[in-house]
Amino acid sequence: MRDVAIIGYGQTKFGELWERSFRSLIVEAGVKAVEAAGIDGKDIDEMYVGNMSAGLFVGQEHIASLIAEHAGLNPIPSTRVEAACASGSLALRQAVLNVASGASDVVLVGGVEKMTDVVDATSAISSASDQEWEALFGATFPSLYAMMAQRYMYEYGLTLEELSMWSVIMHENASKNRYAQFPFKITLDQVLNSSPVAEPLRLLHCSPVSDGAAALIVCDAEKAKEFVNEDEIIYIRASVQASDTIALHSRESITQLKGARVASEKAYKMANISPDKIDVAEVHDCFAINGLILMEELGFCKKGEAGKIVYNKEIAIDCDKYPAINPSGGLKAAGHALGATGIRQVGEVYWQLKQDKEVKDRQVEIKNGYGITVNVGGTGGTVCVHILSNKK
């Protein structure tokens, strides 16, 4: 297998973008990525798109062909990948495998979701859970994560204050991100007093409904030198995916995400590093509790310890003991445009590792040169982990 690199990244703003269409979002992100990589449309051999539910959100399927056309990339192969909220990183994994195998040299991989064209986005989102045995009985998507939080509090004594500090940190980080949906700070009291959605979770523990798109240029590591300076190449050292039961009730434990543990352990092995070598992480905090659980599954701390670490803000951008987590503001504050999220997470870590001017206000200190992303589909039925490095 060949080494695979990232040579460019671009994204739109995430948010309720009433004036923007599905097509214009993904094309903007794609064009920005192509420009950042200094390549030309004709250099692109193939493309993948991560998207959860254009069918339910904008009534359009067959979007891979539509996007290739609007990006001016016909007749290259174009493939859509779907795994609920993990669609983006799964698309990236397909691109990585494609380049590693030698089938293509340069692949464009995008992620996009247009969620605000429908009145009731929540029923579309709930299709990420088990429709027949969860949703039908009244389990909403937030209530599934709320049940994880409730059980976690029972097993480990997590307090609502500790959980709520997650959102405070995310908003602090997002205030330095011009693409974030909520680029402003909030207080702990605001989180604790926000309206209940599914107790114990309140509105400010939840990621928003977002429109947005993101795109990466993935390239054979040797060929990458033709396009960008060698010190600007970021390498994909691991791309790993795992699955678990779609329904929460079918799992032995709901205070852990087994898929994330399995995938990250395998990823660390592939990259030949231990978790303490990670400088920066982007984790899938669709709800605050998932941020805490993923810190534990990625091996940054022991089971049940994440709450205290978060409460002490030891995951902040300028922290020392633990990796900086979600310098972008995470799904909570940067926004969660489902299919685009997995690409956006990798894009953030890419920018951080190459110390791009885009992140100068939120630059994490790069000591070991490693970053990790974890993108989750549904309540953990699909998990995808990527490890990036500035070293080959």
Partner: protein, 131 residues
């Protein structure tokens, strides 16, 4: 869809799952293959007792359209005596009376006021067991 709910009557009305005779594991809802035994799967139907304990729960305030009239309501995962866990509402008590470990038993109720196509869906919910 009517057929879609009719297909699951055995499970939703009578709480019938399957037990793998090869390894003893109980599954609800029933499935085709025992993940532990795969090709050695040997299923028989089993009627579940409907008695169990609250494993976890949430009080839902922001409800889907079909459940709006019931909000706030309690959704829970119940661990049944047979060891299998299922998702359902806890009713006949106030939301703040529910706790992890609370003993409950099954009741059959109307699940949704009105389905997508006007069909009323019935099925299981849980209520506290009187001591």
């Amino acid at each position: 869809m009517v057929v879609r709910s009719w297909r699951h009557i055995k499970e939703r009305y009578n709480l019938i799952g399957v037990r793998c005779k090869n390894c003893g594991t109980v599954y609800f809802p029933s499935r085709e293959i025992c993940p532990k035994c795969r090709r050695k799967t040997d299923f028989e139907d089993i009627k579940l007792s409907g008695r169990g304990k609250v494993y976890t729960y949430s009080v839902v305030h922001v409800a889907p359209k079909d459940f709006e009239k019931q909000a706030p309501y309690v959704i829970a995962i119940i661990e049944l005596e047979e060891g299998v866990k299922i998702t359902g509402q806890v009713v006949d008590c106030k939301p703040d009376e529910v706790y992890i470990g609370m003993p409950v038993e099954v009741v059959f109720r109307r699940i949704k006021e009105d389905g997508d196509d006007g069909v009323i869906t019935y099925g299981y919910k849980f209520r506290p067991v009187e001591n």
